[in-house]
């Protein structure tokens, strides 16, 4: 029996390893080739170089895209987190008719195919006359990120003892003071987590950005444009940078999400 158990454990471990290799191999390859001197990705490798990073560094179009991506990611994540928090708090605090419909509506955007969402956004933004402006992209990414923010904050609020809020009122805190001194401090880890995750969502997002960004191209849009022109290891350099940024954000989000007890000191 013991032998069997052990072999099962090993098989599962190997299986897991294969999955991870499968998922991460392309990314690792991309990172490796971003430091490779050869023009085309092929084996054996050439020598180590910062050349492609240098090229990206001195490319103003890439910098514009990074700037756009950062502005959009920051604004959209803040907006999405505010909207997500309000939705989650409404769910926590109140019960009303059609609440399920309200929640379903709030969680809807990620279930719509991105191309459809992107087309609809494009049509709507050109009606409003803001198509191609940076605002359009911020609004679109807010819509996309808000459900994630809501889900994360809602999870945290569900862990809250309902008496905490009443206890604050009972000790003389008005509803606004309770929000400031009890609800937000309690939800803070999930708020930070939501900020990071929605930032990552926005930073990575391509389909909608491609449709609505116009001249304010974000990083993924620029990557595609370079790729359409020719095969250039610059892509690997930008890709590695995007991957590092996104992973950092996601890891921070995870850390805050799974810290059970907020630290006091």
């Amino acid at each position: 029996m013991m032998v069997n158990d052990k072999s099962i454990v090993w098989i599962l471990k190997i299986y897991l390893l294969i999955i991870f290799v499968f998922i991460f191999m392309p990314i690792i390859t991309s990172v490796v080739f971003s430091f490779n001197s050869d023009r085309f990705p092929s084996l054996p490798l050439g020598h180590f170089t910062w050349n492609w990073y240098d090229k990206v560094y001195y490319d103003s179009e890439t910098w514009d895209a990074i700037r756009t991506s950062i502005i959009v990611a920051l604004s959209a994540s803040v907006l999405a987190t505010i909207i997500g928090f309000c939705t989650a708090y409404t769910d926590f605090r109140y019960s009303f008719r059609f609440k399920n419909a309200y929640l379903a509506l709030a969680l809807l955007p990620p279930t719509i195919p991105l191309i459809i969402l992107a087309l609809a956004m494009l049509a709507w933004f050109s009606k409003l006359g803001i198509s191609g402006q940076i605002w359009a992209l911020i609004i679109a990414h807010t819509v996309l990120g808000a459900p994630f923010a809501m889900a994360i904050i809602r999870l945290r609020l569900q862990q809250m003892d309902k008496d905490l809020e009443s206890a604050a009122w009972n000790l003389g805190a008005s509803e606004w003071a309770t929000m400031r001194h009890v609800i937000i401090p309690f939800a803070l880890p999930s708020i930070i987590s939501a900020l990071c995750l929605t930032m990552a969502v926005s930073f990575d997002e391509f389909a909608i950005a491609w449709f609505v960004s116009g001249l304010n191209k974000s990083v993924p849009v620029v990557i595609l444009e370079i790729l359409q022109g020719n095969v250039d290891p610059q892509i690997n350099a930008i890709g590695s940078f995007v991957f590092a940024t996104t992973m950092t954000l996601v890891v921070i989000a995870q850390l805050f999400l799974f810290t059970k007890k907020p630290n006091n000191h």
Partner: protein, 366 residues
Amino acid sequence: MNEGQIVLENVTKNFGGSVAVEPINFEIKAGEFLAIMGSSGCGKTTTLRMLAGLETPSSGEIRLNGERMNELKAHERETPLVWQTLALFPFLNVIENVEFGLKMRGVEKPERTERALKWLKRMEIEQFANRSIDQLSGGQRQRVALARALVTEPPVLLLDEPLSALDANLVVRMQSVLTRLQKELGITFVYVTHSQSEAFAMADRVVIMSAGVIEQIGSPREIYRSPASRFVAEFVGTNNIISGNIKEIKGNTMICNTAFGTIESKQEDRNTRHQKGNDVELVISADMIELSQEHTFSENEIQLQFVAEEFTGSVVTLYFEDANKNELIVQKQQREIEPLELTYGCQIFAHWNPINVFCLPDVKTE
């Protein structure tokens, strides 16, 4: 106008269609330790939450020091509550929890810290001031919750089953902490509990509620010795409730026919309300029954058979039956029954003084 500190006048509470509290009326005197007792769903917690402003009465009026407080919001009242779950803020440390009420009242930081520390000292937990809540034991958290509620020096403290999560030995210790605190501060405590031992051990007066109605208000002794209704008689203590029919009334003595034969009851005021021929229910507290191996020729004596016992420490609950299988419960100290050498099935004589036989007021009249 000489009314109590807190007055509830025809207060009711409905949730949707269901009635949580029927019209209730009672007063709480300043400096009194009042317990509201009942089983879950009896309306005791709803009543307490109405005092705290966490629920609004559906009708009626609640007055504090003569002033109507129905419309006063929870945060505008000086009626802090100690919660069953304690509801300490997990993201604040001990002293920040205690300071919370002062902070909300705009007290400056140095004064806040000083006053909070004073209360931590008083509750003997000042060494934990900078600990986080989850580093404390149950008893220590209890003390933090008390300090947090009392730091604003309120005239009234509300307590909602605060000891229900503690170990039995800790409960007894916290009871003495609470009673001493209440005597020293001289403020009103309103204490909601389902536990008879907690209510009787601490309270000056006890309100017994059932299904949104007040069954009885009185001192623990009054309630224990003369329950006002069948519900109270069954709820508190261990009582024998015996149905009977009044055979004769002579002054304050009443003789009833019951399944156990004739039982005599002597009461100053209560028996005069009844009439010959009425059906009544007689209450004999299990600890008021004497046992002996021989005939004593007392007024109320019956012969019984010993059927079962329940041993819970120094007190023993004994179950007896007469020839017709009517059950009688007797509670005795272990050392009192040892000389009787009881064995299952043995015959014994039980008797009791007529002044310990109560007649329930809710008479079934034909």
